[in-house]
């Protein structure tokens, strides 16, 4: 009985377990030991072609950063359009089409952001390694990506009239929250 219940609610259980593990990781000793363990990766990042190029040519770094900002704009635009529609704004635009088309724009802009982001991270790897805000951004980004592709998308792929409107609103609000956090923490990396 319990086993079949667990089997039928695999995803819900996995999500709960994921957050439980995340919180326990946060409050355990593991967090500082894994922070030390990944240092060689960041040292290596600075020695890569990306790292050297990012450090040597300030102009190249700035252009890539501008690309990152354009990507941020488009990603934000798609989030606002899609989640705004789910929240009941932009009435008159077909929800099904807006949500679907926004998702592909979102995926493309995320690809651009990740590509430019990796380049920038290589250029300042050691600096960001010691910044808590960078790690919060990575955490928020991971949550956001998992949420969009494994949680939000499967629900929105269903017949939208059949999905509880409150669930749609919850998905929209949490999506806006997480992407705002990713963007804002990213901006703060530049100031610290």
């Amino acid at each position: 009985m319990i086993f079949s219940l667990m089997l039928n609610y695999r995803k819900t259980l996995c999500s709960s377990l994921f957050f439980l593990l995340l919180v326990s990781f946060f409050f355990s000793e593991l967090i500082s030991s894994s922070h030390i363990a990944v240092l060689p990766v960041f040292e290596w990042m600075e020695t890569t072609w990306f790292g050297v190029a990012g450090k040597t040519w300030g102009a190249l770094f700035a252009v890539v950063q501008a690309g990152h900002l354009v990507g941020l704009g488009v990603l934000g635009g798609s989030v606002i359009a899609s989640d705004g529609r789910l929240l009941g704004l932009f009435k008159g635009l077909p929800m099904r089409l807006v949500v679907d088309r926004c998702h592909s724009v979102f995926a493309w802009s995320l690809a651009l952001l990740v590509a430019t982001g990796i380049f920038m991270a290589c250029g300042v790897a050691i600096k960001i390694y010691y910044m808590p805000v960078y790690w919060y951004k990575m955490l928020a980004l991971t949550l956001g990506v998992l949420f969009v592709f494994f949680i939000r998308k499967p629900i929105l792929d269903r017949d939208l009239d059949q999905v509880n409107p409150w669930l749609l609103r919850l998905l929209a609000i949490s999506s806006i929250m997480i992407w705002f956090t990713v963007a804002a923490t990213g901006r703060w990396i530049g100031f610290s």
């Binding site: 494994f150 939000r152 956090t181």
Partner: protein, 47 residues
Amino acid sequence: MSNKDDFKARDDRGAGIVFAGGIVVFFIVYWYFEVQSVRELLEMAYG
């Protein structure tokens, strides 16, 4: 809708609520401490 689809829909919904809830809690906790630390710094600087 078959029984299997029904369970799948409920599982997706359950995961949606858990994950979205997790994000909302993360958002509130993170920004609460962020604002708090800025306020403390400002108080130290200006009294």
